[in-house]
């Protein structure tokens, strides 16, 4: 690995100072499970690594006024095990629990997973389904970016070099919002997704779908929402035929490539089948099928 300088700001203010000072020469470290690998492989060569401190708001994990606040340094392990997340955002807990290994989850953070912006980042489809809001702060200003407007391409986001992702805010949608997540990988542990699918559906008392989210990972340059598919579902009472149609629309939203993990054709088919499987499980309440 190349030589670099390391900064350890004590709090938010100092972090913003460092980020402003170093700009593009600096890289924020919030766990380092991706960053250090990228540096070892020479893919990133920052002059300075700025470690995000383990202090508020980076470590926040709480519910206030119907909003769950998750600090950027909250680890995958915390998301996996936190009673709050397990109860209120089970889809995020599950997705976080499927990242890497126990050791990686003890170190890797939600902020890192988001800012790394891998198309295969496991928590990202879950966060898309949950309408997460990202708080981007820099010296003297703060903006909120909905997660579906954050990603531009593999490793590319709307974040400016001097901006720091401080926390993620997720609105709590209540019991009628049913979510599902499926990570497809050849190995059941310590593997990168071939396809990630997350869904969220909000049904009213008559069984009609009021609102829906379908998010896909590893099948496009960024994690995506299948908006046409979501729209098709809204206002409808779900049937097998409808779910099939919706799954085909989700497939249409994807643009997978062939790589060493799977062929484009295979991924394409999996988007359809997994979307269908998850929607069927959530809406038709049939006995769950399939395994990982």
């Amino acid at each position: 690995m190349h030589s670099f300088d390391y900064r350890a700001p004590k709090d938010l203010e100092e972090t913003l100072e460092e980020a402003a000072h170093w700009g593009e020469k600096g890289r924020l470290l919030a766990g380092g499970t991706d960053l250090i690998l990228f540096m070892e492989r020479g893919r990133l060569r920052p002059e300075v690594v700025i470690e995000v401190p383990r202090t508020e708001p980076f470590t926040t994990l709480e519910e206030t006024n119907g909003m769950i606040r998750i600090g950027a340094r909250v680890t995958m392990g915390q998301l996996e095990h936190s009673p709050l997340i397990r109860e209120k955002l089970p889809v995020l807990s599950q997705a976080a629990g499927e990242v890497g290994s126990v050791q990686i989850r003890n170190l890797a953070t939600i902020g890192g997973n988001i800012v790394t912006a891998s198309p295969a980042g496991d928590t990202l489809p879950a966060l898309l389904v949950l309408d997460a809001q990202l708080m981007l702060q820099k010296k003297g200003s703060l903006r909120t970016v909905p997660i579906d407007q954050f990603f531009l391409g593999p490793g590319q986001t709307v974040r400016e070099p001097d901006e720091v992702l401080t926390e993620v805010r997720v609105p709590v949608k209540g019991d009628r919002f049913v979510t599902q997540f499926y990570k497809l990988a050849v190995r059941s542990y310590m593997d990168i997704a071939i396809v990630d699918v997350a869904i969220g559906v909000y049904t009213n008392g008559d069984g009609a779908v009021e609102d829906a989210r379908i998010a896909l990972g590893s099948v496009a340059p960024t994690p995506i929402r299948a908006r046409e598919a979501e729209e098709r579902l809204k206002g409808q009472v779900p049937t097998e035929t409808l779910i099939d149609e919706v799954a085909l629309l989700a497939q249409k939203a994807s643009s997978p490539i062939t790589d060493q993990r799977g062929s484009a054709e295979y991924r394409w088919l999996m988007v359809y089948r997994l979307t269908k499987r998850l929607l069927t499980n959530a809406l038709l309440n049939s006995s769950a099928s399939g395994h990982r």
């Binding site: 690995m1 050849v186 190995r187 059941s188 088919l269 099928s289 395994h291």
Partner: protein
């Protein structure tokens, strides 16, 4: 060779506490805290070709030599030399830190003249980059098919597999005098490394000491001295300081060996009643720039046999033997074809195998395995499974040599205070050899498992200053070292008995050592405890050397495995539910580590069946997945319930077991998947997309 108080029992590894507490120092770990001679140790690193084939026009190390911390730089190839694969060594440096060494590598200027290359086996075959066919014929060869009523034919493919030991390859070298060198090496073959390095450095072999007390696995690619050892020795001499040269995982993938791929077109002819008549196989595969991709003959009885093999040359690193070299590939082909034949004949595949298996032991094993997996209750014909999740059963056969032989010189020392020291220059590649050596000594001395695990009992291996021993390859270690250690222990005990005989007034040949006592077999109450006996020694210690003696070992083992799998037909994901592994290894020395060998073999077999495979980019000539993120190995969650059945046949003597358990696993899994689906995936690894292709759900 019947079981005794220590032999055939479940003895935990003697070095388990050292390993789990981190006290055990592997080659990767050694430094001046473990060996003061390593003070001032430098870090070595090797610059490797980035191109699959090129002429080296110029190689300039002058900038690297001036870099901070750099203490030695060596060019390994001359200008004008041709490199033949990406990863071939070009130059080496030693520096004070690993980072400085890596920086120095990037300062070495290499001017390449790219040359045409080929890394794809099929393309290379088409281009004629291949050997002339090697043919083996038995009976009437292919003409024998005219006796068959039914013939099946299919082509099976297996990928290049990489050894991936947990500890990457490497050496740590220190010169302790102008012509004295000590080498820590992660090796399966201490004495061969010693002798090879002595030749390379023009030193008498006794001036070279090779140490490997603990090693993080070797599956065949550590079976001779590799290039990095003399490089480390030369860097060390040049720099005048110890050098640690451990390869990175990527270097391990590219330049330390691999298991050749295979494309086998197999034909089997049989009578209507299932009697095998003829077998033919035309195969090709690549051992990279080396050869060695040929496959062994099937283990079943075929009166007529025709084998034809062609080695293909590609611009990839040379092959190396990998745990039962080429046998799992061959078994995958043969046992897959047999199941295809069974389907065509409408026969039960287990019955078909028993009918054509020449091995009496394995015929028994098929029955044991079938019973343990529940074959009769669970097996249903191909194509009869329905639903999204489908389960299937399959099986495969294994055979191996595993005999041992002379070449080990063991020493057993008995001290007056009762303690026992055992010494032998063998190595423990993770199989539990140290414990096996201990059991052999305790067995020969009549000591108890408690004594074996006490402070009074010490076993030293892994050092060429100890008595000579052979390499650990071919599953020969146990059957080679056990008799030598037993012989030394037996002789040492005989000397101790002389003193006991005098004391008790009983002839020495009437004395028996058992359970920690030496007593008169005609009057068992007349005897001494081990401690009382050793206190009779007139000197501090007695010591005896032992060598391999005949009569304690055998060779030639049989085995079979059954797999149950569950396939998700929507995603193509295959989950192995259970494996039953039935193996014979003659007399079991340590049931615990013997079972571990089987579990390890099955695990590696699952990995080969479902996950592993080198991917080469034919356009750039580079390996795409030279890391453990993209080259996938089975992890703990891929390991199913493994039911290990070891046939206990003490009358056959000690026989090795390291390799045979990997042979049938992939075949059994492939057959189970085909049974579940009603269609067959004829190419390993059986990945989800291949499953869906076989089901016709994804275009091929």
């Amino acid at each position: 060779m019947a079981a005794t108080q220590v032999r055939g029992q479940r003895i935990p590894r003697l070095d388990a506490p050292a390993k789990v507490t981190g006290r055990a120092k592997y080659t990767y770990d050694v430094d001046q805290t473990s060996d003061p001679r390593l003070k001032g140790m430098l870090y070595g690193a090797i610059l490797r070709s980035r191109l699959p084939r090129a002429r080296i026009r110029r190689i300039d190390t002058s900038k690297a030599e001036k870099m901070p911390g750099v203490r030695a730089v060596m060019s390994l190839v001359g200008e004008g030399a041709e490199v033949q694969y990406a990863g071939e060594a070009l130059a080496a440096v030693a520096a004070e830190t690993w980072e400085q060494a890596k920086d120095a590598l990037s300062a070495i200027e290499v001017e390449y003249e790219p040359l045409p290359f080929e890394v794809d086996t099929d393309r290379a075959y088409e281009k004629g980059l291949r050997s002339s066919p090697r043919v083996e014929r038995r009976g009437r060869g292919e003409d024998g098919f005219d006796e068959a009523d039914v013939v099946v034919e299919a082509t099976y493919r297996t990928p290049v597999q990489i050894h991936t030991p947990l500890e990457t390859h490497g050496s740590v070298v220190v010169w302790t005098g102008p012509s004295q060198v000590v080498v820590y090496d992660s090796t399966q073959v201490l004495f061969s490394v010693r002798d090879s390095l002595a030749r390379e450095l023009n030193l008498p072999p006794e001036n070279v000491q090779v140490i490997c007390e603990y090693m993080g696995g070797g599956f065949g690619s550590k079976l001779w001295m590799q290039h990095y050892t003399p490089i480390a020795a030369r860097l060390s001499r040049k720099a005048g300081a110890p050098v640690k040269l451990m390869l990175s995982r990527e270097e391990d993938f590219l330049a330390t060996g691999n298991n050749p791929d295979a494309v086998q077109t197999i034909r089997i002819g049989a009578k209507k009643d299932g009697t095998f008549v003829a077998f033919s196989r035309r195969s090709y595969g690549t051992g990279g720039v080396g050869g060695g991709a040929d496959l062994p003959a099937p283990v079943y009885r075929f009166p007529h046999l025709y084998l034809e093999h062609v080695d293909v040359t590609t611009n990839a690193g040379p092959a190396a033997p990998l745990r039962a070299p080429k046998w799992p590939q061959a078994a995958f082909g043969v046992d897959s074809a047999i199941d295809e034949l069974a389907a065509k004949l409408g026969m039960d595949p287990v019955e078909l195998r028993i009918k054509n298996d020449p091995s009496e032991i394995r015929r028994k094993e098929w029955q044991i395995g079938a019973e343990r997996i529940g074959w009769k209750e669970k097996w249903r014909p191909w194509g009869s499974h329905k639903g999204v999740l489908r389960r299937g059963l399959g099986c495969g056969a294994s055979a191996w040599g595993g005999g041992g032989g002379p070449g080990s010189v063991a020493e057993v020392e008995i001290f007056r205070d009762g303690s026992v020291v055992v010494r032998l220059g063998t190595q423990d590649i993770g199989t539990g050899t140290k414990t096996v050596v201990g059991i052999a000594a305790a067995d020969g001395l009549g000591l108890t498992p408690e004594f074996l695990r006490s402070d009074q009992f010490r076993v030293y291996i892994g050092d060429t200053r100890l008595g000579r021993s052979g390499g650990s390859g071919g599953s020969t270690t146990a059957a080679s070292v056990y008799p030598a250690v037993y012989d030394a222990a037996d002789k040492a005990l005989a000397r101790l008995k002389e003193f006991v005989a005098k004391k008790l007034g009983v002839p020495a040949d009437r004395l028996v050592s058992q359970g920690g006592r030496i007593f008169d077999k005609q009057n068992p109450t007349k005897g001494l405890t081990w401690g009382e006996a050793t206190r009779l020694l007139p000197t501090e210690a007695i010591s005896q050397r032992g060598e391999w003696r005949p009569g304690m070992t055998g060779s030639g083992v049989a085995g079979c495995q059954f797999a149950e799998v569950e396939v998700d037909t929507e995603t193509g994901i295959v989950r192995v539910v259970k494996v039953v592994a039935v193996h014979d290894c003659g007399a079991v020395i340590n049931r615990l580590t013997a079972e571990s060998q089987v579990i390890g073999g099955v695990t590696q077999g699952i990995s080969f069946a479902l996950l592993e495979g080198r991917l080469m980019d034919w356009q750039t000539g580079l390996m795409i997945n030279a890391d453990l993120e993209n080259y996938k190995l089975a992890g703990a969650f891929e390991v199913p319930e493994i039911d290990v059945v070891l046939l206990d046949m003490p009358e056959r003597g000690v026989i090795g077991l390291g390799e045979p358990p990997i042979i049938p696993t992939a075949a059994a899994i492939a057959n189970a998947v085909a049974n579940a689906l009603g269609v067959r995936v004829r190419e390993l690894p059986i990945t989800p997309d291949k499953v869906l292709k076989a089901l016709g759900k994804v275009p091929s």
